[in-house]
């Protein structure tokens, strides 16, 4: 308790005088089925009924050696839990595009959207779990050992940033506006945002690698507010960039560390949560989560990197559908934590 008080005190010094302390609890309520472990949970999202969905790297990712090429398969799972954390079902068990889980979001119609970093696909599942729409195409084969951060040559994809198609390279996250338009942070290999209509028709693409306004360095997370503005967690540049619905740069939010997961609440008075996620090789800095107004004013800040509950390890996915509740997928702690804000 003393330690917590010290922590909060320490955090308070970093904040403007108006920022309030936040009292919060952490819990790990999700119960995977017998003989199943959460693994490296990367994406988490809730639907309108309060069910919790997790897209995680677990199981055995495998490579099959062909005559001249190697083929990658498996390695990630999508689970649904009820509002009490009880396991409901596994979705997409035999899906071709599940290789390395990255992002997970649920839209207003309770469709489930899984973003896979390695297959470079954005996969939409209907609420019943059936594949509804696919963006991108999984590379046919992989190089062994894998190509080091050089992008994918194997699918014959054109040189990265800004390409006018749905061929992604390491996509990280997906978001929707009220009309159902789709925005993909194509993010970990590319450095662009791609916009599609609700039917998956390519509309436009913006951004390139760099530090200027409208440029990105690992755009990791994306959200759209009720007015259609697009918020991009420009992780490597330590800022959230805000664009209008057509990708015109409006402003940047800074002073929040390196945002890796962001979430905008619903309802009449939305707020923005941003996680200054620590990388897996550093638990001694960062890890804090900032609560902001949509115009970028810091309202509160809480937490730090660590392996205990109420501490955070490499938050990659964040859900804030329910007021006062955050679901966090912690890729460096291999768990999903439910945070209740008081």
């Amino acid at each position: 308790m003393k330690r917590l008080a010290t922590l909060l005190l320490a955090a308070a010094f970093l904040l403007p005088a108006t920022a309030k302390d936040i009292v919060y609890d952490g819990a790990e309520p999700l119960q995977p089925p017998a003989d199943t472990f959460m693994g490296m949970a990367v994406g988490v999202a809730t639907n309108s009924r309060g069910h919790v969905f997790v897209y995680t790297r677990n199981g055995d990712p495998g490579i099959t050696l062909g005559g001249s090429r190697a083929f990658a398969r498996g390695g990630s799972s999508l689970y649904e839990f009820d509002q009490d954390g009880r396991f409901v079902r596994q979705i997409g068990k035999q899906v071709y595009g599940f290789l390395a889980a990255q992002g997970l979001r649920i839209d207003d119609q309770d469709n489930i959207w899984a973003v896979d970093r390695y297959s470079s696909m954005v996969m939409k599942f209907a609420p019943d779990g059936a594949v509804a729409m696919l963006l991108g195409r999984k590379p046919e084969s992989v190089d062994v050992p894998a190509v080091q951060a050089g992008g994918r040559q194997m699918a014959g994809a054109p040189e990265a940033s800004g390409m006018t198609s749905d061929l992604f390279e390491g996509p990280a996250d997906v978001a929707f506006d009220k009309d159902g338009n789709i925005f993909v942070a194509d993010g970990l290999g590319n450095a662009r945002i791609a916009k599609f209509t609700r039917d998956g028709v390519f509309v436009k693409s913006w951004g390139s690698r760099g530090t200027g306004n409208g440029q990105f360095h690992t755009p990791h997370s994306i959200q759209v507010d009720a007015a259609g503005n697009v918020y991009v967690a420009d992780h490597g540049n330590g800022r959230i960039q805000v664009f209008d619905n057509n990708g015109v740069y409006k402003r940047s939010i800074t002073g929040i560390g390196d945002p890796e997961a962001i979430c905008i609440t619903r309802g009449p008075r939305p707020v923005l949560y941003s996680s200054n996620s620590n990388p897996a090789d550093d638990f001694d800095h960062g890890g804090d989560i900032t609560k902001l107004s949509l115009d970028g004013k810091v309202l509160a800040r809480f937490g730090r990197a660590g392996k205990r509950l109420k501490e955070f390890g490499g938050v990659t996915g964040m859900d804030c559908r329910k007021d006062g509740t955050l679901w966090l997928a912690e890729s460096a702690n291999w768990r999903v934590q439910k945070v209740t804000l008081h």
Binding site: N58, Y118, A280, F283
Partner: protein, 353 residues
């Protein structure tokens, strides 16, 4: 380099032995008495139609259940009861299992695994159904090739491991990890998994506070750390803050260390015969030494051999009860139980007989 040589010379002087050579003879072999021991053949009953592979890790919990961590078609963790009957498999398709190296059980019966394929140390609850903590990071296949002993390795990070080998705890619950095949260090973490200190680094060496393949470690009740510094053929003793105390260089190849429980603790040290059975190697290696914690050799037992009860590259031992040893071997794909007598005063441990 000069200081390193000077340091090892100083150690050699201190201990009155010559510097260790590759596959150094266990100089204690000539004088150490043979301890009477008896194998318990067929003690472990594997499920029909299934098989164990290379036995990298063996451990017992407080109830006498035995855990076997091995490399089969997948890396697997099996639990047996105190009578050697199969209980269950733990961690089937767990993301932290790729290439087994060690399993240990802490004083609260939590099960810890060390996997040198995923570079992750996992703390399971006593039932093996829940992951309580991980240390380390499994790189995604999407991020490129994983570090190997031969490839370029990332520098030693506080929270990332490079083919880690073993885990142990002091009485306060602090965590010690030997790391490993591509780093060459011992790392200390708080019970919450926060980095506290390390000895050694990414580069191998043979001086003080240097290691060359730290392959296993144990901690005694006083918090001293015993490191099996394999390629240097020595057991290194560190204090609780990882400050160098001494090294034992007279018991051979130093693959694995085990410290028994009870009021009087003993150190068991393997002089494992090397992989591949080079000609003549069985004459120099293969036995296990029983020692006092201060390095006094009490005796030896066992020998290299393909057939039970011979040892075929001992990788790890459990010695919770110093009179009942469980030994895991690599090249024979087996786990054997032995009853040992003699060597040291009657230990008076509860439940030791």
């Amino acid at each position: 380099m000069k200081t390193m040589l000077a340091a090892s010379a100083a150690v050699a002087l201190l201990l009155g032995t010559a510097p260790a050579l590759p596959q150094a003879a266990a100089t204690a072999a000539a004088t150490a008495p043979d301890l009477p021991y008896k194998a318990v053949p067929g003690f472990f009953k594997t499920p029909a139609g299934d098989a164990m592979g290379e036995l990298q890790g063996v451990a017992t919990n407080s109830k006498g259940h035995v855990f076997a961590f091995f490399r089969g078609p997948r890396t697997r963790l099996w639990e047996f009861d105190q009578n050697g009957n199969f209980v269950k498999e733990i961690g089937k398709h767990y993301y932290g299992f790729l290439f087994a190296h060690s399993v240990r059980v802490d004083r609260d019966d939590n099960i810890w695994t060390v996997d040198e394929g995923t570079n992750v140390v996992t703390k399971f609850d006593p039932t093996g159904t829940r992951v309580l903590m991980i240390i380390g990071h499994r790189p995604s296949a999407a991020l490129g090739p994983e570090a190997t002993a031969k490839g370029p390795n990332p520098p030693d990070g506080k929270y990332t491991l490079c083919r880690p080998t073993d885990v142990a705890w002091d009485p306060q619950g602090d965590i010690f990890i030997s790391d490993g095949y591509c780093n060459n260090r011992v790392v200390k973490y708080s019970p919450d998994g926060r980095f506290l200190a390390q000895s050694g680094g990414s580069k191998p060496g043979k001086g003080e506070n240097e290691y060359n393949l730290p392959h296993g470690l144990q901690v005694d009740h006083q918090g001293n750390v015993y490191v099996a510094d394999r390629t240097n053929n020595r057991y290194v003793v560190l204090d609780n803050n990882l400050k160098w105390k001494t090294a034992y260089t007279n018991v051979g190849t130093a693959w694995s260390a085990c410290i028994s429980e009870g009021a009087h603790q003993y150190l068991f040290a393997t002089n494992s015969n090397p992989n591949g059975n080079p000609q003549g190697s069985w004459n120099r290696t293969g036995q296990i030494y029983k020692m006092e914690l201060d390095g006094t050799v009490l005796g030896k037992f066992g020998h290299a051999g393909k057939l039970a009860p011979g040892f075929q590259v001992v990788h790890m031992m459990d010695c919770r009860d110093p009179d009942q040893l469980i030994v895991g071997e690599i090249e024979s794909w087996r786990m054997q139980k032995f009853v040992l007598s003699g060597g040291g005063a009657a230990n008076g441990n509860e439940g030791s007989k």
